[in-house]
Amino acid sequence: MKARAGLTRSIYGNLISGFFLIAMGIFIAFPLYYSIINAFKPVSELFLFPPRFVVYHPTLDNFVGIVRVYSNSLVPIERYIFNTVFVSIVQTLIYMLLASMAAYPLAKKNFPAKNIIYYGIVFAIMFTADVTALPRYIMLAKMGLINTYWALILPTLGGSFGVFLMMQFMSTIPDTILEAARIDGAGEKYIFFKIVLPAVKPAVMTLFILTFVSAWNSAAGNLIYSEELKLLPTAISQINAGGIMRAGISAAASVIMMIPPIISFLVSQSSVMETMAHSGIKD
């Protein structure tokens, strides 16, 4: 890494690249910073003119406020949290397995209908989900799944983007490695789990982040009508509906919602960076 950097990297180029990285970093970080500090502002500092970019008297009142808002609600906040955690984890694990499995033959094999499936995958990514919501609802209703966790989980398992992502990455694995394994007597399941998946670990982790984040942020919509099965974003939007009186509390709630996606991201990224340094599988 360092050796090649020395040969092809000039100091001026490094300065230019550093400038662009810092400029973009500030542009992206500033609004995030402002919304995070708002969560720690007492009411007296939330609506100052001109707005302040530091907190003079940081407080955790807003976080305590979330608990207070939900202290005498119909469904305790813990239940919404459980629902979202459960649905996100189950959905993420199953989808990662199904999408990676489906991507393997699409990337590395030839079989009838392969091209049709490929175009189906791309076309499905491009079709607006809003108009397919009703037909999908009818399918789920016919199966008797409305108002169950499965109504949230099952449709996402058919998502085609994850398959497309895995397929593109798997296509870079050299056929010779797979052929060699087959000659040595390895079965397809062995090849998939022991050779293909480790070779595309960055993609697996990208798929993990994507699936988990979209599951974590999704609200149940009209698929769930029992309050005790609803998801955390629904509860948060109820807090936000309190308007300006709850500006601080809703900022605190948003900060809490950010934590699990951030942890999932950091954990997956660090594991990717470790493995890639030693992987010699690409030709």
Binding site: I28, M101, M126, V131
Partner: protein, 298 residues
């Protein structure tokens, strides 16, 4: 029987791997899409039994729906700016980040991706562009004497389109960016060392001759994502500039679809708009794929 046996032994494994996902895909994605395609030729409005009306929906949106034309133009304009710019920025920043040490790389990847990591993060921008004097931008301009009264950033058609574009670019380092980062990490280091010895002098030559040709699969992922997100602008303008916005200044095809499917319950008509949007995206994809195969050479 004999033929079926050999078919199974030949392709059985492939369909075993594909099967579970394919089943969910067909039931929950493909069938609803076909249903909606068919509905676009009916007057389905959730109340009456749907009646086949041929291409009437399509004629209506082309000839009798000024808002459709406005939202079509807005969508194309949004897509032409945020699509290519977002795509190129994602690639370039993924590439710049890849040169950094491990700690800096992790931190910056994280920072750039955060807007996509946090649901509804674009709402933060209402603090900045708020119409009243408490908005950060307005209060800055007011206290420094640049303006006398707050500018209506979010509702004035003169400004709100630009505001939406800025916010879209802010959140543009999404999944495409992440798959670029993952792709750069997977590149074979030996190629770069060999190239440096063989006379590649600077990072630009390296990018063009060594990196780009290896990034074909990721470029295609980024392309599909840029197209599908650039043409599906809707959530950002709806949240920031109101829905509908002043004089439909930031109305898009997606919002038009949501208006007809969600509020007016004219699902047949909404499906027709969705089909038009789909055709536009596929056209863009076919074009972009041609362009990419000439760059990455596969």
């Amino acid at each position: 029987m004999e033929k079926k046996q050999s078919f199974l032994s030949k392709y059985g494994n492939d369909y075993f791997f594909l099967g579970p996902w394919l089943l969910c895909f067909l039931v929950f994605i493909v069938i609803p899409i076909i249903a909606s395609l068919l509905l676009s030729f009916t007057n389905f409005d959730m109340v009456q039994t749907p009646k086949v009306i041929g291409i009437d929906n399509y004629l209506r949106l082309l000839l009798n729906d000024d808002i459709f034309v406005t939202s079509l133009m807005n969508t194309l304009l949004f897509a032409m700016v945020s699509g290519p710019v977002g795509y190129i920025l994602s690639f370039v920043y993924g590439w710049l980040i890849n040169d950094l040490g491990r700690a800096a790389r992790t931190v910056l990847t994280f920072l750039f991706y955060t807007p996509s990591l946090v649901g509804g993060s674009y709402l933060i921008w209402t603090y900045l562009f708020s119409n009243d004097a408490y908005g950060i931008l307005n209060s800055f301009l007011l206290s420094n004497g640049f303006i006398d009264s707050p500018i209506q950033w979010l509702t004035d058609p003169e400004y709100n389109f630009t505001v939406v574009v800025i916010v879209m670019l802010w959140g543009g380092m999404g999944t495409g960016f992440l798959s670029f980062v993952a792709g750069f990490q997977g590149l074979n280091k030996a190629y770069f060392e060999a190239a440096a010895i063989d006379g590649i002098r600077n990072r630009w030559q390296e990018l063009w001759y060594i990196t780009l040709p290896q990034m074909g699969p990721q470029l295609l992922i980024g392309a599909v994502l840029s197209i599908s997100s650039a043409f599906s602008v809707g959530a950002v303008p709806a949240a920031l500039t109101g829905n509908p916005s002043t004089d439909y200044s930031t109305h898009t095809l997606l919002l038009h679809i949501q208006d007809y499917s969600g509020s007016r319950l004219e699902l047949g008509y909404a499906s027709a708009v969705a089909v038009i949007l789909f055709v536009i995206m596929i056209t863009a994809w076919v074009g972009l794929r041609k362009l990419l195969s000439s760059i990455s050479g596969d």
